[in-house]
Amino acid sequence: MSFVSRDMPGIGTKYELDTEDGDRVSIVYMEDEGVQLYVRSGEGDYCSADLTPPEARRIGNVLTGAILETEEEEICMVFSSFADLKIKMHTYKLGDRTAGRTISDLNIRKSTGVTIVAVSRKGESIINPPATFVFERGDSVLVIGNPEQMKNFEEEFVR
């Protein structure tokens, strides 16, 4: 199970993969930017798509499991060298519950497990805020953690 690559003079390079179930996936990288994706089922049905480079990258991301769900402002990342690890990054808008208190006051790490990576206040971001950082109403935070820790954080500080 590996890609076979072929040079296509005047067009680009073709990569072909035959799956275990007898389907074939062909990807053609064209010299003048752009990718064509072909899938042929075992029965011989063809379908194809003409992709711009950003579209091709997006599909690649989805296929590798790093799904970008921009509408929810959440990224779930899987690294090939840490295959069992599923890290989420999520942004939340904070309300009254945290206003006027510091990160260490709230004991965020200990009680939920997540780490605050950045805080956005009126359009300006503060990366890796110190434990003495004081939240204000309307701050957005970017937190990192596994899905369970993320749930804890939501229950304790956001809702």
Binding site: I11, K14, S26, Y38, S48
Partner: protein, 370 residues
């Protein structure tokens, strides 16, 4: 002078828009624009020194970029099937073209030029059609593209052969071979410097590319050998450096100047007053049939399947830029007119077949199944 070129370009711009909308190859559209404007049509635009230079530059850039694709190392690795399919294509079509031209009554010299133009398919239209009609995954598309590469190499030999016709053949061939070797040695020696310039400085690289092509034309003029030949050789030699950068620089020049080449080819052709239309249409029909025969043989040999031959046929029927290049360089007015009509008819037929080859194959499969 300049107003003629402006009118021609404006008409081409409109025609290019229409052909894009209709998803049809633009080459026949440019030629029709030329035929309408030129001596045989309305007679509004004529050739002049400037248009001749721009058209010639279009040819040089075309052949230079073609040369860039001729990478000796990659071709060397292709092996037997490459030689076999290319030779079938060459043998059948050159012979068919030559015989038909002779039968119709062309003298031997003209028949040879016509045979060469008859043989060589349009790479530009094949590539565009394979992408446009989503055929790149099909195994036949690899065969088609490598047949095109074989034809490109043959074009190099055809140019040497045809240009050695007039004066001493040995002198022309020797000059050409020495020059090609010189290019390869120079590119090999300066490969690092050239790659550095091309990889590092966008503006300098662009000027380098343009200068290289124009110098190729000048060298050819000084040595008395065809500029087309020198352009291919230089392109192939420079493929040792950074071919993808050179191609990116040369492509815009090629695409614009080639439009001028196509439209002024149409302008130069006079199809009025006793032009042998019946004969030329017969040649065009033969051109379609002979590619059918060669494609069926290639399909059977490469893919063990005659239906693959139909696919190859549909993509190689269109004659285009290289046939016109041969006619422009070596043909007299009658030969040029003949090749122009052949390119026009085969490219329309080929364009349609490229689009509907899937249906054709399904129909044939059904018939066979019964």
């Amino acid at each position: 002078m300049i107003e003629g070129i402006a009118i021609a370009l404006l008409v081409c711009l409109v025609f290019a828009g229409i052909s894009k909308k209709a998803k049809f190859p633009p080459i026949p559209a440019y030629m029709i624009a030329g035929l309408l404007l030129g001596a045989g049509g309305l007679g509004i635009v004529g050739q002049n020194e400037v248009s001749d230079f721009l058209a010639e530059a279009g040819l040089l850039f075309l052949l230079f970029t073609m040369g860039l694709e001729l990478r000796p190392d990659e071709i060397y690795g292709q092996g037997r099937s490459f030689i076999l399919s290319g030779t079938i294509d060459l043998g059948i079509n050159i012979l068919a073209g030559y015989s038909v031209a002779l039968l119709i009554g062309f003298p031997v010299n003209d028949a040879i030029v016509i045979a060469c133009a008859f043989y060589i398919s349009s790479s530009a239209m094949a590539v565009a059609s394979l992408i446009e009609n989503r055929k790149l995954a099909a195994p036949e598309s690899d065969t088609i593209l490598w047949v095109m590469v074989f034809e490109d190499i043959m074009l190099l030999l055809i140019i040497v052969f045809l240009s050695s016709g007039g004066k001493s053949a040995a002198a022309t061939i020797t000059t050409a071979i020495v020059l090609i070797f010189a290019f390869f040695i120079l590119c090999y020696l300066f490969s690092r410097n050239i790659s550095h310039v091309l990889g590092r400085y966008e503006d300098l690289g662009l000027l380098f590319t343009f200068t290289a092509v124009i110098v190729a034309g000048a060298v050819a003029f000084l040595l008395g050998i065809p500029a087309t030949l020198v352009a291919i050789a230089l392109g192939s030699a420079l493929s040792l450096t950074k071919p993808e950068v050179l191609e990116r620089h040369a492509k815009p020049f090629r695409d614009v100047f080639l439009v001028i080449f196509f439209v002024f080819f149409g302008i130069s052709v006079d199809l009025s007053g006793g032009f042998p239309f019946v004969d030329v249409i017969l040649i065009s029909i033969a051109a379609v049939i002979s590619k059918l025969v060669s494609s069926l043989v290639i399909g059977k040999a490469m893919h063990k399947n005659y239906l693959s031959g139909i696919e190859i046929w549909s993509e190689t029927t269109a004659r285009g830029e290289f046939s016109l290049a041969i006619a422009a360089t070596f043909g007299n007015p009658l030969v040029s007119g003949t090749v122009a009509v052949m390119v026009l008819l085969t490219s329309v037929v080929g364009g349609l077949m490229g689009r509907y080859s899937g249906r054709m194959k399904r129909y044939l499969k059904k018939k066979k199944g019964r």
